[in-house]
Symmetry: D3
């Protein structure tokens, strides 16, 4: 089994306990997470040889983050050490009509200030089967975008599968800059992942007849979006997550896989949320696991959606669920009955 | 901009963490709150010059309560110091069919034992635009009722707008005593606020066709109630909150404003509750902000209901939300999607 | 009033706070509970002279468990001291599609290793009115099953009412072994309690037309099950709890009492769950209280179901509710409105 | 074995966690304690039939306090129910040069407002061997003092041993009033307990050559004090605790027993304090246990001082130590080596 | 009474609970503090009109920090809003031989990136009596140093007293750069404060015969240091704190004031530490209060040292003590006896 | 660099927060630790290739324990999976005269019930440089002792250095049985580690003139003990830890290394303890690191004692300190001054 290399940022995630707002709290919970790190942990939890690549400063936060990743079995030996600071983000958990709120303090982070010379992609990619990144990484800085591009090119050369989750963040860059940068990167991508807003904000591809704030999902619209994306960039596999937000506590959640001009839809779950940050990443982790394990398309999307459904019931970003739990849900038992 | 003077009691609020019952817990969370203090904090959060007037003993609980209020920008310079104790209340958060439970230990509090001479209303009301109190204050003691009456008369003399939230508490007095005392005070009131039970319990004015425990609200009935109240006491503006209690976790919430023989109804929200104590006060705070800022009646009731809807998602009594968050909800986005 | 003797195991219950998974947590909450201890506490809370009989080692966990029981007024003077260890169980609270998970570490516990000579049933049963045990106790070990049988025989001799909650645990024994052992014990039982799975797993008695994971309940089917059980073992009173699991957070909950060929159904509650462990035991406690207090069958089942509905809103196994709260719910106010 | 009746107040004790000051904290720890309740718990922990008598209002705090006491095996059946409120006290744990600080909110408590008719001393004193109260109880109100006097007279009539801990609290009354009231009560006392300040503040009996704030203790001076007290009120047994306060963290602690004109001094311990509230009460509990168990004077004072030394290492007021632990320390092992 | 303007940085302070190391913890306590903000809070607690001036970004951390400061009565109206981030520092509390450890994440903070034009010193200094800053502020950036210099010049012009705590931080700049920058600023300083290392590291002025790690203090040496500093920069008043570090838990603490060629030494305290971060700042706050209130030199140094001694017993940076507590200690009661 | 294989038990360690006693607490902190696991973590923290070998059941506690170990970089691939349960121990932190107390619930653990066939020592010992076990492992069961013996023999065959910490636990076996079993194992040991009680309890070798409970250490006595042990079993290197217990909070701590008839004594530290469980293991970890890195005897014992001194300031069993921190202390800075 080859390695699964995930490249991006890991940050300290600080959140008040429960539903407290940041301005109220005297306590914070600290974990370490980030879009690509979350995928790496999902893959490790599903038994894959995950490698996480980033740049981190030489301090105790880094030591803690690396210990957490290594605890899951993620290979941290390729992390570059240097720079001034680890990025931080603060999460306020929303409830009912009050939205969750993320405050980023990630500017000037070690990875945003990295140089291409910090990463030896030839070495990193030895015995590698899969390369994953998200649209957050190139959004961090021009250097980071440049490094992504180099990694994509190198991966392509070596025949490594490349996956990318568009993951548009409007606090990091504009849709128009994202469109330019991501457009170039998409040329190298074999598996594209997007949510209901990404395609529109980044590439102007819109799901017709969908109102995400109203909690309604249009299957046809998403099919169009996936086809357009696949065709524009010649991407063989496109996966789209479908979130219908009833409130900050209750969401509909489903996914679609587009391959060879066919759409495969998962079941739609109604989720009472524990923590939705990292939900999309757990979809990516489940999907990469499923596709790389040779699952049929329908089973692959079912696994990815079940895995990410369960993530919404787990505190913090990392998806602390097993293959068995995921398959049990995917095969139909979502009743939440006590196991004893 | 003139001052907004709120007069009443502030207590130490002690609640077990989460859903623990009082008899189970070894820990309590301590905040400081009270009907009129909650309104003062809402007004300060919305940018008004709020002043909170009460009487408190000279001890460390008072120091803590004053620090909290001052932190929000509430003017505490008019608080009278004296008396034996600060009132305390214990809150057990309910869930599903188990109701939240409040245990009052507020008898003998400094404000209940206050004398009229403790308050110099001429000084307090300098440069004042609005005076607010609730039906809790006169319920504390005959002295407190007498002080309220003096304040109302003085406010009237000076042309200050007077608002009163009926806020009937059957643990503090009987409906019949409340009717007599509040009836006299109502003569001075320009803006009356009430919930679905107050008007009936205090003045015997009942919304026909409404079953509050069943979660159903009758718009017509509330219109009648408001009109009757407005006419009986010649009150220009009457606002009524409409709560439909599905369970301790889930409530319907709406409001109505009655002005010049017209009823303005807000949207009705279905709320998954974080903490509903202080919900009514946040309505009062939102309404006073809106009316004093010159909002049209429909916008005023929409703002007050949106503000108080959000309060239900915030821990503790104070409404920790901004004008921007309130307007976003009032303008239609209640989907609770993550902001990042 | 005679004594109510409950015989079984009490364990240390360790659970992570909130919705954390066991593998994530650095903290655990510790309480002490078990099927029959939970019933004893319910009975004590409802004013009965409850006695809890078990075997525990001589250490500080035992001291803590006994202090907790005695605090509720449960008589602990008949607990046998000896053995190597107290059983422990870890509970992970589920959410939405993720089920709650119980990890038992109860093998080799003092009660599982008890000898018949550890218990003097003649002494224990002095002035006793009721004897209660559950299907968990005989599942612990052959010795424990033997002790149960002796107790049942002795109770029968003395004209003590015997109740048994089938409480099948497939982590402790097989359905087939359970069928044999429980079948023999059932001969002595006056009041049998079972949930939707027990009858099928232990005695192969199945409610036709019921899909427990789908949240749907069939009244007719449960009537058949109760009748079959009552007739097979000549049990005068059979009570069945009906749980429909929508998700780990939301359950339907109801109950049925079968007496003299008649079925009495309770109202069905939709519960937003705080902690469902101990839910069945609180039904047993409520039912024993009701039957022994001479309630009519309909009122008895209504009380038992209301009591256990409320238990689902209380943290930990013990049912911390009063007769008044239970009767208020049973008489119709499940709106969860604040009491103040 | 007869009963040991302790009469006084039990309050909710609220303290911030760790060394936080009251004005800083958002959390409080809640336990239930009071001078005489602390003695009752010590006696129950040492195997005596302790009975705690007080008056408490009918609410959930009372329910919690009673559950805690009953958990220790203290008989609560003689507690009178009635009145407005339970007393509360807030404790700020001191450190180094910053003293611990107690904020009382006990005025108007149920016991302070009790009537003599609330207590049936004939019934309470059935099969009673010992009666204990402290100088706090008569300080609560004139009624409480009157009830103490009645109890003392009744105890004397019945030949019950009466012990009293002077326990002077200058936040409750003046030394001069204390002198008058306590002087009358002392006539009935068989065992008097006092600390280094009580005798001086209440009766003007001063230990010459002692500077309590300097941490120095004068053995001779204490001998004089005890003799004077014993002779003035014809008290057969006088015990004095000797505290030398180096800082809020570190205290010297010793005791002296005076009987038949002889002084018995304990060892002096240097204690690194965990929680010193209740330290004096644990001395009283140890002493009553020792004297009533027929210990020789030297052994009695050694036991009482060892028990109370250990109390200083235990959080909250109650002395959670065993006879074995106390005897181990009293017999010389204070090295604190791990037991494993 | 004029205003006391403090200029510098306020940061989010994040520390693990208790003695946990950063790499171990899943929780952090969050407060907001900084050298000059700490002085402002001390001054406000002692009744002075403190104003805190800094630059902060427009986000919820700023809102929280401002709320905390305003709660103490500190004027926050002169804080400039702008920039990318608030500085953060992580504190690991040391114990015994393990030192406390501070991890700064303050680079790129709003105040470090401030421009001179962000501050209108003419406006800020209206009705101002005192200006305070520390050596940390000019260490943040060249811009910050430039702003300090402008403020000093403007203060001088207006006859405002200027105080500066050298506060050398070797994680922020080198001793040599500090020497140059601070040397220029010292020309404007009326009251210089320094600890045992600052003078040596910044200006090469060394206390002969002192070994700070050994816990020994040389009075003579400190006198020389103060005189040299006073003479080199023509500073009328120099204060030096003397810390002898026995271990991370136990420190000797004293201070010296040098005025008109005379040295005034305080008592030396042996402190068992709760939290020593902010200890030096609380000395500064106490000294400025004392000098500006017209205390004689001996009383001024006694007050400043007593205030800062007490700070070491208080959690977090701010000195939560009163004038009364400080004077009680300064007048000799450091025994830490309970107040009740 | 070869591997460092540590063989023994890892347990769930459950302790109440702070100084709470087990009987009081409603919360526990959970970590995973054990004598040999603690050594493995120390070695990994010092950069060695540590491997931990044990047997654990297939459940979530095992998953958590393995994640923690792997996080430190400890190789867990050789852990055998099987058995009924993981051992548990409860730790009550002592204070002053109250000793820390350990309650073991480790009987019937997977490792105690292991079979020799569970471990393939040939495979485990590939590329191994060092083998470490302690006297706890053979104390668990006869099987465990047998497995230790096999491992020792195999290690000897392969020329692997064998170290053993006597670690006598009188709750697990008698001194006499320990003497027999350990005596046989000692034949294979190259580095023996013992504390002040082990040699006496296990082999009857006593340090003359030492009173461990009195806090006094005799250097000469310890020299004799080491020499006797070395000679009796032909052990080239013997290390002895010297603990003088002043109280549960304050200990003297030192160590001695005996090699080639010479005694090397470390400095003696006076430690104010945070958590002393694991203190001895951290000495072992430091010593093995030092000896295997080729340190001279004096430097080796200095390093081991400094490392373990620091461990006493760290919560939980694992020694969370770096080589740099250890060397800083060993080279003389134990002043605990803040690093910033």
């Amino acid at each position: 089994m080859g390695k699964f290399v995930c490249f991006g940022e890991i940050m300290a995630r600080l959140n008040p306990p429960g539903y407290l707002r940041l301005v109220q709290t005297q306590q914070l919970e600290i974990t370490y997470a980030g879009g690509e790190a979350n995928v790496a942990v999902s893959l490790a939890n599903f038994g894959k040889n995950a490698v996480f690549v980033t740049r981190l400063p030489d301090n105790d936060l880094t030591k803690a983050a690396m210990r957490r990743l290594r605890g899951f079995g993620v290979d941290i030996s390729r992390i570059a050490i240097g720079g001034d600071r680890m990025g931080i983000y603060f999460v306020e958990k929303g409830a009912s009509q009050r939205a969750s709120k993320v405050l980023y303090d990630r500017k000037y982070s070690a990875i945003a200030q990295a140089q291409p010379s910090d990463f030896d992609w030839d070495g990193i990619f030895e015995e590698t089967e899969w390369f994953h990144f998200t649209g957050i990484t190139p959004a961090l800085s021009d250097n980071a975008a440049q490094i992504c591009l180099e990694a994509c090119k190198k991966a392509k050369e070596k025949g490594i599968v490349v996956s990318c989750d568009l993951n548009y963040r409007n606090k990091l860059w504009t849709g128009s800059k994202a469109g330019t940068v991501m457009g170039e990167l998409m040329e190298y991508v074999d598996v594209a992942i997007a949510n209901e807003e990404d395609c529109e904000k980044v590439f102007g591809i819109k799901a017709s007849g969908t109102d995400v704030t109203g909690g309604m999902l249009s299957k046809e619209g998403y099919g169009e979006v996936a086809r357009t994306l696949a065709e524009r960039f010649s991407i063989p596999t496109v996966a789209i997550t479908l979130r219908g937000s009833i409130s900050a506590n209750d969401n509909h959640w489903a996914g679609m896989l587009y391959q060879k001009e066919k759409c495969y839809f998962s079941r739609e779950y109604l989720i009472h949320i524990v923590d939705r940050v990292g939900g999309g990443d757990s979809f990516g982790g489940g999907l990469i696991y499923a596709l790389s394990s040779g699952f049929e398309p329908q089973k692959a999307i079912d696994f990815a959606v079940a895995a990410s459904c369960l993530k919404h019931t787990v505190e913090f970003d990392f998806n602390e669920v097993t293959i068995e739990e995921t398959e049990k849900l995917m095969n139909g038992d979502g009743s939440g009955r006590v196991q004893r």
